[in-house]
Symmetry: C2
């Protein structure tokens, strides 16, 4: 059996009881480490499971999946994914390859940012499409959400296992430390792009929420206008951002206002009354 | 401490290790039983926790929350919610009341249908707003998703603790067994509404996926056109439905086609080529 197991959002104890049973029954355990960044170290997982864990990078999963699936017709193998197995990527290739080899697959779900974001005070029903802040087509997608008044969850870019130009030129497999986009950088870039495109997907006075370390003990939400939030200090990763759509309900407003620093609350209310409540 | 703990989608072993620790440390345990229907019985939870569990119905949570919160400044109390605590409802009132009473609150997240739906083969990024099939404003919301080519997750109506007219008239607190909308009923109603409104939010040949018992051992996906799926047998609850948006990617198509009964695959491909691929 191949188990694909969500680890949830924070630490080693966010695995489900069912997931932990599967890990304990497995002969080999792989940890997917390229679409997201674990907020805990492999060593902590190993201590908790009392078993060794192998890091599975993109090369291994995409080019050498038969190594992961080796003999999984006869023994259990666990493939661990931060969040839910169907978060950032669906690991479709691995599932299809397992099916070709006659290996049964069981998915063990967990929380991901896609549902935990409900903690920011906005209703999940009022979110439009989620966007990923990579330099492709995110702007029109935000605009589509804006045009119908929906909230937008923006997942910020994470760079893992990137090589420096020098190391790449010299063919040295030395990787830079992981880099995380901050809410501040994201907001700066967004506001610059809006300046260029002027299509009104959002603006300096659009209400937003910086969401950091979601689902962990140090989770924090800071609400304000986009231009106010540029200067807030959000601390350690991971960061994400929610742009608030015009359809914000008064009850959502009241919850979100509680995440607004005191000096910004008057402005927050003023903009809600001016742009949202109508 | 008030712990608000997601139970996940299927059985008692879908709670996280962290959630189970919180339950074990609690003096009282409440199970929220009005916004969703647990697929396992209270008795199974009690056996697994080795502790009594109190069912919290809407009256208790909305009118008598101080009973739930009693002395939670000094002892731990667990409030269990099927799925994730921020799924259907956000339990905002309970959190606000706890804060007023100086009771710390900790949320323990879990999977909900909002992320587990990724198992149907469609990318979460390509979903628009989720709709709830209650007789209010769902139609314009589906239309908004359709117009920009996004998928729509439709959560079907669940009726819990409803009284018959006779029992209500006689003031007898006898409740009907829970009732679940089936994919079939949902599709019939949707197609009737489209016949009346003719705004083109969808039609008999729109591609869709019936998703049943998501996250459980008997989970099943059946893909087809809306009119084909009306006649499929989806079995026991819970049911939900996904309408596929025009932006479906070829990789999504290939995954979803594998959920299509063989006799319907040719039609499925034909419609994909005619209406989606362009």
């Amino acid at each position: 059996m191949l188990y694909i197991i969500g680890l949830g959002l924070s630490d080693e104890r966010d695995i489900t009881v069912k997931g932990l049973d599967a890990v304990k029954s497995s002969e080999r355990i792989y940890l997917e480490a390229y679409t997201s960044v674990l907020m805990i170290e492999k060593e902590k997982l190993e201590a908790f499971y009392e078993k060794p864990v192998t890091i599975a990078d993109r090369e291994m999963v995409e080019s050498d999946s038969d190594q992961i699936l080796d003999n999984a017709q006869n023994v259990n193998v666990s493939f661990l994914v931060v969040g839910d197995p169907f978060g950032a990527t669906t690991h479709t290739d691995l599932v299809i390859r397992a099916k070709e080899l006659g290996i049964p697959v069981q998915i063990i779900h967990n929380a991901s940012i896609m549902n935990a974001i409900g903690a920011c005070g906005l209703q999940l029903y009022n979110f439009g499409q989620t966007i990923s802040m990579r330099p492709d087509s995110w702007y029109p997608r935000v605009k589509e959400n804006t045009d119908i008044g929906l909230h937008t969850l923006c997942l910020l870019d994470i760079k893992v296992k990137e090589q420096s130009l020098e190391n790449m030129a010299r063919g040295r497999l030395i990787y830079e430390p992981p880099r995380y986009m901050t809410v501040n950088t994201c907001l700066e870039q967004m506001l610059e792009i809006e300046e260029l495109r002027k299509e009104g997907a959002y603006g300096p006075e659009t209400l937003a929420i910086g969401c950091v370390r979601l689902g962990t003990a140090t989770q924090q939400f800071i609400a304000g206008t986009m231009e106010q939030l540029v200067n807030e200090d959000f601390g350690a990763p991971l960061h994400s951002l929610v742009l608030i759509g015009k359809r914000m309900h008064i009850m959502e407003f009241e919850m979100v206002r509680s995440f607004c620093p005191e000096q910004h609350q008057a402005k927050f209310e003023e903009i809600f009354k001016r742009d949202y409540e109508a």
